[in-house]
């Protein structure tokens, strides 16, 4: 790589990360996105807004989340020390809530009484329903009909929280279709509705503001590493669907040249089978859901169906900042398949007594391989982005157990 860019200077004013990102939406939404951008510009350095956000993260989410040394697992693997950034211990059980707190505060400032969201695994839907309940906002969550089926527990959680879950039956009935439907809702109800996007994708300014809200993960991990390990980590590992937990961990380290970074996509049945959800590993640049990024598409530019055992990674695109970080070579994007992720899920549960989400299990699957190529003096930080309770029914079904 030639001269390194200053990673903190991106995106540019119009939301571009190199050729990626931007704002590709129908005209009806342009005004709302301009308003959102202006509001965020005004609030992001506002001391009161920051104080409100920090207060909620501390007292409602329970931050900082611990950086936990998985000592027994690391010893068993015989390589680098693996540290887990425990986003699974957040209120609602995943990193998603960091972002929904931030966006709900924006919604409140913009005076919008109704929020909508798309969700795949249901974690973002739950995190949105949670903040909506707390702020007294009306909440509707779009969820692919197939995901409604495989994430029943989260669907019920959202209902208990007072949200309405709307199953989406168009297209492939998964996350991308839920996002289409949420966009259609927003275009119709743009006056009174705030769209809380759950990942670092979508039109500008979403990839920017979701990243900024999730960066708390990396800022804490950086400080904790220096304090607990006495040095910066040698490598960071995080799973990448849309990529919000990964950007949250990576971004505060991007200008630390010594830190290697690995984003782990879902290889599903295996990259070579075509049944996967790994656009960075096996896709090409295109435009979907408001931004230019790597996509899984056919030769005619039609988006193709994805597959992963983990609903949260089952998405044919990826946040534009990841697309750019891949092209400039700052982050390496790799993949773990269903079998590897399930094995990591079981291993961490049995060795450390921590049950990870199937999404996070992809990161663990790659970290276990990476650790074995490194020495015990070296350190890896893995983002344990969510807990696995929501996946128990999926894993049980694979084990042939019915409840």
């Amino acid at each position: 790589m030639s001269e390194r860019p200053d990673f903190s200077a991106f995106p540019d004013a119009r939301g571009h990360f190199g050729q990626f990102g931007g704002c590709f939406v129908s005209e009806t939404l342009m005004g709302a996105l301009d308003d959102l951008k202006a509001m965020y510009e005004r609030l992001k350095d506002d001391p009161q807004f920051r104080a409100d956000f920090d207060y909620d993260l501390a007292h409602y989410v329970g931050r900082p989340s611990p950086l936990y040394l998985a000592e027994r697992w690391s010893k068993q693997l015989g390589g680098a020390k693996i540290w887990l950034k425990r986003e699974d211990l957040n209120h609602t059980g995943a990193h998603k809530v960091n972002n929904t707190i931030g966006q709900a505060l924006l919604a409140k400032h913009m005076g919008k009484p109704r929020v909508i969201a798309e969700t795949g695994a249901g974690q973002h839907g739950v995190a949105t329903a949670t903040v909506a309940a707390r702020l007294g906002l009306k909440c509707q969550v779009y969820m692919g009909a197939e995901d409604v089926e495989r994430q029943k527990l989260n669907v019920y959680r959202m209902k208990l929280l007072g949200a309405e879950v709307i199953p989406v039956t168009s297209g492939s009935k998964t996350l991308k279709d839920a996002m289409n439907e949420a966009m259609r809702d927003w275009v119709t109800n743009v006056d009174d509705t705030f769209y809380i996007i759950g990942t670092v994708a979508g039109p500008h300014p979403y990839p920017l503001l979701v990243r900024d809200f999730q960066c708390i993960i990396g800022r804490e991990a950086r400080e904790q590493s220096l304090k607990q390990a006495g040095q910066l980590p040698d490598a960071l590992v995080a799973c990448v669907g849309g990529g919000s937990n990964a950007i949250g961990l990576f971004h505060p380290f991007l200008n630390d040249e010594s830190v290697a970074m690995y984003g782990v996509e879902a290889a599903g049945d295996g990259i070579e089978t075509g049944r996967h959800a790994a656009p960075l590993s096996a896709g090409r640049p295109g435009v979907l859901h408001g931004n230019r990024t790597y996509l899984m598409e056919d030769d005619n530019g039609q988006i193709i169906e994805t597959h992963s055992v983990s609903a949260g990674l089952d998405y044919p695109g990826v946040g534009p900042e990841h697309a750019w970080l891949k092209d400039v070579g700052r982050v390496q994007y790799v993949a773990a398949d269903d079998t590897e992720a399930l094995a990591a899920f079981r291993e961490l549960t049995q060795v450390e007594g921590i049950m990870p989400a199937l999404e996070s299990s992809h990161a663990l699957a790659y970290a276990r391989k990476l650790a074995q190529t490194m020495s015990p003096e070296q350190n890896i930080v893995v983002n344990l982005s969510g807990r696995g309770d929501k996946d128990i029914l999926t894993v049980a079904a694979i084990d042939g157990i019915e409840f």
Partner: protein
């Protein structure tokens, strides 16, 4: 003068408004589309908007979503759509054809390849729903070079400042989206549309077509009183779905709707 420009010029001389039907190419089969285009011209269409099917039509309601699914089910590609226009042009050299769709199927072909092939096939304009002028800086000169009009949307939420920008960036005509919502939504409010069209006229020089929510002769007539063109889509695509196994019935049903609109608009 481009085909679209001369179309509006000659209509204006006759004090008539443009009737602009939309159908999704390849719905309900690839064979249906070209005869349907001719039938629509016969029934009074001045410009044809031909939908290029996309797997994720974010700005469309259920009617056009399903039309895209039907067209894609038997593999209608962007190249197939261009072939349809080429075939249409063998016997019709006058009626402007505008391709309407989303950016990704164009981007995957490459802007140059797409623009060149489209112009050669006899396409006159391109409207990409998810391409606002700010993101069109790269594609605009390529379309200009090929002699294709790049048509942009104006929405109820568009600020005056943006209307000016869109008026300068676009050519052919402006497509005013009559309501906040997706295609095939509830009926539009004519008074509101009239007010907005008046504003747009002050800020932009292009002819104004109005679409979304026009369902029948009555709404077409009302809109034609204030706009330069009337776009009708979902109401026609519904008929394609209704008669999907019977191409003759599709042509008949759509011709009936367009004839009624034409009469009402010209009265």
């Amino acid at each position: 003068m481009s085909r679209i420009e001369s179309c509006f010029a000659s209509l204006s001389e006759k004090n008539r408004k443009a009737l602009i039907p939309y159908v999704t190419a390849g719905d309900s089969s690839k064979e249906v589309t070209v005869p349907l285009m001719h039938a629509m011209v016969e029934a009074g269409a001045d410009i044809i908007e031909l939908g290029v099917p996309f797997s994720d039509p974010m700005a469309d309601g259920p009617v056009i979503q399903l039309a895209c699914e039907r067209a894609l089910a038997h593999g209608t590609s962007t190249r197939d759509v261009l072939a349809m226009v080429r075939e249409f042009r063998t016997t019709n050299n006058d009626t402007p054809v505008v391709l309407m769709g989303y950016l990704n199927p164009v981007e995957v072909m490459g802007y140059e390849t797409f623009a060149k092939s489209a112009a050669e096939a006899g396409v006159d304009g391109v409207l990409l729903v998810d391409l606002p002028p700010e993101e069109a800086l790269e594609v605009k000169p390529v379309m200009d070079e090929a002699g294709l009009d790049l048509i942009f949307l104006v929405a109820p939420t568009t600020s005056d400042e943006r209307i000016k920008l869109i008026g300068e960036a676009g050519s052919g005509y402006l497509y005013y989206v009559s309501l906040k919502g997706v295609t095939g939504s509830a009926t539009l409010n004519v008074d509101e549309v009239a007010g907005r069209v008046e504003t747009i006229r002050k800020l932009a020089k292009l002819p104004i077509g109005v679409g979304f929510g026009i369902k029948d002769a009555e709404s077409a007539q009302a809109v034609s009183r204030v706009a330069d063109g009337v776009v009708v889509g979902s109401a026609l695509v519904n008929q394609v779905k209704e008669h999907q196994d019977d191409p003759a019935a599709i042509n008949q049903a759509i011709s009936d709707i367009l004839s009624a609109m034409r009469n009402a608009m010209d009265t």
